[in-house]
Symmetry: C2
Subunit: 224 residues, 2 copies
DNA sequence: TTAAAAAGTTAGCCAAAACTAACAAGGCAA
DNA sequence: TTGCCTTGTTAGTTTTGGCTAACTTTTTAA
């Protein structure tokens, strides 16, 4: 069984692969920053992961997950997201609190417990942030949602996912009704800085919100 | 924050203190056996725990928990038992499955999560095995329950607790209706080996059971 | 009372996973 | 093209928590 540290590396590499361009290797520096660990520590762990067949490591270039490493990463991510949703559904956690709890629990939850949680929740396909929950066999539903900052005025869209775990940002978005399931109308966009003026249709009714392009880029939507 | 290993030692020492005689020190050997770790490893950990003020360690004699060590042990035990009950109550785990899950989860559950689980369960005072759940401030309800093998014929008693985590034994006892809450009548006791002939009044109705003195010693009851 | 067995300690080893300091390679801009 | 800055690697150290082998202390039983 992989250690907690190994699981965290695999997860980090998986996430960095997702956001990097197709087929590109993940740089050591990016892993070091994500995990807040020194570069030499990363180099030495990557060698060890490579020795164990979990990654393909090219000296001075970077790494990518092997099929085995990828499925292990997905198994941890699956647990993470199931735990997040479970905490929200059963214990009244809010969506800004669950990430840090899940970050530890993901390494202590057995496959059996994950399966029970999955069944209890009715085999959900996404967590409280709209992140897809990988299936037991490592399938991840793909979505055609796009960042909200890429929407033009008069566009109407449904929020599908929020790509950020910062509790502050999440509380701010919740305040504005900008959560998965809400509908947004793009009222106007500032030409020079991309600031967006939105009309939001959430469970709290119809409200308006003005957010930066930066913030909008974390919000994935499906235009209607 | 203590490591997982330190938490496991503190818990083991606490449990061994409970079963040893009043005021006696816990022997290194007992810890080694309980944790399935070599004696030298135990010696070295005890020194380190003593350096950190978690135990009082007397060379060649044994250890006892310091007040600080005791409260840390109780906090882990509290989490363990809350988790066990939570798994049974919400996820249809059976009482023989929960111990091993809780053994890992107890180290990953935050104080905050423990408090939420506690509230969700309605501030229970015992886990599925009848083990008392320590309060946040380290209070443990004492019970005057006695081992069933100390009961005489014609005695009627209510089962309060089962002092054994073996899945096999637990499944066997469940089968016989010998679970906390059931009422037992001692029909007869074999003179030479203490084997007990019982009449059991459980949720499954009135049944009879014959168990060894050894098995009966794990079952704590309150005579009526 | 004393010798053997059991329990405990010391010394020395290892692995995992972190770190810093020093050096090497790669990439970019002048 | 060259030089510098960034990135990556190597070497060596630390901490934690295991281990075995060898020795010492304590306990037990003859
Ligand atoms: Mn994690
Ligand atoms: Mn999430
Ligand atoms: Mn444990
Ligand atoms: Mn229990």
């Amino acid at each position: 069984m992989p250690t907690i540290s190994v699981e965290n590396y695999l997860k980090a590499i998986y996430h960095l692969e997702q956001q990097g361009e197709e087929g590109g290797l993940v740089k050591n520096k990016a892993i070091a920053e994500k995990l807040e660990i020194s570069l030499p520590s990363v180099t030495s762990m990557l060698k060890s992961l490579a020795d164990n067949g979990l990654v393909v490591y090219e000296r001075y270039k970077g790494v990518k997950l092997s099929p085995d490493g990828c499925s292990q990463a997905l198994n941890v991510i699956r647990k993470h997201r199931l735990i997040e949703l479970f905490l929200v559904e059963t214990l009244q956690y809010t969506w800004d609190e669950v990430h840090s709890e899940a970050e530890l629990l993901e390494h202590a939850v057995s496959d059996k417990l994950a399966a029970k949680i999955d069944a209890y929740l009715g085999f959900p396909d996404s967590d409280p942030h709209g992140d897809p929950i990988p299936s037991v066999d490592g399938q991840v539903r793909v979505s055609s949602a796009i960042p909200l900052n890429q929407c033009s005025p008069y566009c109407t869209a449904i929020i599908k996912r929020v790509l950020n775990q910062s509790p502050e940002l999440l509380r701010y978005l919740k305040e504005l009704g900008l959560v998965p399931g809400s509908a947004v109308d793009v009222v106007s966009v500032q030409a020079f800085d991309g600031q967006m003026n939105l009309s939001v249709n959430s469970t709290q009714g119809e409200t308006s919100a003005i957010i930066t392009a930066q913030t909008a880029s974390c919000i994935l939507v499906l235009p209607q």
